[in-house]
């Protein structure tokens, strides 16, 4: 008996797994039929980001430094009140075209200072920023951040352009996507007609580009001219949103231009390498059938 079981053990194990999977299949199918999942408002009305074209797109993409500088200005004057940029240092700004002196001035004038220690008393104190510092946190800790923001923590923006599906396009869409749920329609369907019970919880804001439609962040860009650009670009809401998306792309991937340039060289080298090795291969095997 034991030897018989051992001999057919593979069939027994295979049949056991298949049987349990069939049971599971039966459960899933009958659940699906008896209790079909209802579509939620998020599934029907959540939007994928609108297309956004930046100079950094594609295999040869580089940063439009003027746009990135404008985006930095938007970050500085709007976003930085709540959002940290803790992986980026002031000295990094030289890579987007600011001179050493300008970077020094930007760091020294930054509204929030670096936490430090009083030289004489040893007590907690602050000091002005220097270029070597990373951007200081707008809130001392998470509790302070929650207290100031209706119990939500504004996320760090250093990597935002890589930490969401869609990257900069998502950021741009989110910034310009705030709308009124009462009049919101998508694909010919009106939100309030399809889901009459839909309501935006207090303290949240309706935005179809956000995963669950309701976001804690109030609309940050509300009127044209909120930021005054020095290069004469007209600061529409859409323009400011685009510029800050470009800036955050740079903040997340500061070495993109160098990466693309290196990549073109490496690919050209490898194409020559493949040509040479293929020639060597043909040469070595000449006259040998295989």
């Amino acid at each position: 008996m034991v030897s018989l079981i051992l001999r057919y053990l593979n069939y027994i194990i295979g049949a056991a797994f298949a049987f349990v999977l069939l049971l599971a299949l039966w459960g899933t199918a009958s659940e699906l039929i008896s209790n079909p999942p209802e579509e939620t408002a998020e599934e029907v009305f959540h939007l994928e980001p609108m297309a956004l074209h930046l100079q950094s797109d594609g295999p040869f993409g580089t940063y439009d430094l003027r746009q990135v500088q404008r985006g930095f200005q938007v970050y500085k004057e709007v976003c930085s009140a709540c959002h940290s940029l803790k992986q980026v240092a002031f000295r990094d700004l030289q890579k987007i075209g600011y001179s050493e002196a300008q970077v020094k001035a930007i760091a020294a004038d930054w509204q929030i200072e670096q936490p430090g220690v009083n030289k004489d008393t040893g007590e907690a104190a602050t000091r002005p920023n220097v270029p070597a510092d990373r951007f200081p946190l707008p809130f001392a800790n998470d509790v302070a951040a929650r207290a100031a923001n209706n119990n939500a923590i504004p996320p760090d923006l250093s990597l935002m352009a890589k930490a969401r599906e869609g990257g900069p396009a998502y950021i741009h869409s989110l910034l310009v996507g705030y709308t009124d749920p009462k009049t919101y329609t998508h694909d010919g369907k009106a939100l309030m007609k399809e889901f009459p019970d839909f309501s935006v919880p207090t303290g949240l804001h309706f935005n179809p580009y956000f995963a669950n439609l309701n976001i804690a962040m109030p609309p940050p860009l509300t009127q044209e001219g909120q930021v005054q650009y020095q290069d004469g670009t007209r600061p529409t809401i859409n323009q400011m949103a685009k510029d800050v998306s470009a800036f955050l792309m740079w903040a997340a991937e500061p070495n993109l231009t160098k990466r693309h340039a290196t990549g073109v060289g490496v690919v050209l080298f490898l194409l020559i390498f493949i040509g040479l090795t293929f020639g060597a291969y043909r040469n070595v095997w000449r006259g040998i059938k295989h």
């Binding site: 593979n10 069939y11 194990i13 295979g14 049949a15 797994f17 298949a18 049987f19 349990v20 999977l21 069939l22 049971l23 599971a24 299949l25 039966w26 459960g27 899933t28 199918a29 659940e31 699906l32 999942p37 295999p59 992986q87 980026v88 990094d92 996320p155 760090d156 250093s158 990597l159 890589k162 930490a163 969401r164 599906e165 990257g167 995963a211 997340a252 500061p254 070495n255 990466r259 693309h260 290196t262 990549g263 073109v264 490496v266 690919v267 490898l270 194409l271 390498f273 493949i274 090795t277 293929f278 060597a280 291969y281 040469n283 070595v284 095997w285 040998i288 059938k289 295989h290």
Partner: protein, 434 residues
Amino acid sequence: MSFPWAEEYKPKHPAMQWVDQRLPLPRLVYNAIGAGYPVPRNLNYFWNFGVLAGAALAIQIVTGIVLAMHYAPNAATAFGSVEHIMRDINAGWLLRYCHATGASMFFIVVYIHIFRGLYYGSYKPPREMVWLLGVVIFLLMMATAFMGYVLPWGQMSFWGAQVITGFFSAIPVVGENIRIWLLGGYAPDQAALNRFFSLHYLLPFVIAGVIILHIWALHIPGSNNPTGVEVKGEQDTVPFHPYYTAKDGVGVGVFLLVFALLVFFAPNYLGHPDNYIEANPLSTPAHIVPEWYFWPFYAILRSFTADFILPAKLWGVLAMFGSILLLFFLPWLDRSPVRSANYRPVYRIFSWVLIVDVLLLGYVGGSEATPAYLLLGQVTAAYYFVHFLIIIPIVSSLERTRPLPNSITEAVLQGKSGARMKETAVDGHVAPAE
């Protein structure tokens, strides 16, 4: 080694003769991957992938050692140290993207290498030991890759570690204690991160060691080939060098080209955006998914949703580990004396069905667990087990195989170096002289 007609290592330079008499290391290399190793003359490009896997491991070790010089395995600093590498270290972005993408490349070539073995029957006698060691390498790779993915301490790192170590809690009675012991705490944290780093640094060298055994075991019978017919004489083989070193050179070039395209132009394509968010034990991501190379196994795990004697979770964990462990038994599940699928019309079809099945499993594993995907996962997971444990044994005893060529050379001279042969093609021909 291997065949009597293998060329002997005869160093010309007195210095090399001096070395050879005292430590015949050059002789070992010569016999392993030089002119001293006769290889079937009809290998196709599928036989490049062993060398490519070795190249991928070398890339991972070199980039990994340099990354470890800058990485800080501490829950408070790990995420920041990776960003420090990306932003401030000279060519740090290149090292890290090479290492992250290199892991994917390693799995791509190893999966093709495994399929090559399945299709051409490389696991069959006398090469069972090569296959068994290969499965050991695969298991070690999975452990190494999993622990490596935890190190950047992003959201997917943390929650992946939470899910994977959670498997152990499915073990009855002692499971939870084992999980806590492995993690060094109730959840992944400082202790887990530090030991994962230690093991992630150790295991690649263990893999390198098992690869040496893998190649050693391979050199006893010599390489298989697309016909699956054993080497009969000298005319069936060519020396590894220069013939296959030249061919592998082309393979390495193409491998590096694909690798470079990913690293320089789509470095985050195979990753998950959530891993650019620092680990937060208080916030669970909407969808926890592992890296793409674990998707088929993740789909098998999730497909078990029904309790039957054992709880569903335990079934899932057993099946997931079982799906890999059953590969150890493949040489004894498949009893057919014919190796290559080119001469096994039924097995050939099923091996392509298996590929489609595993690709579907991967697709399901990477998607949300909605009922529709769950159903597809359950069907494809069931096929996976039925394929290896029921279909293969039955096919191997019932199948009528096609006639084999008398030798590799005969197949080559007929211009069918392993392609399917018509029965008439074999009948009229006399085997070439041995």
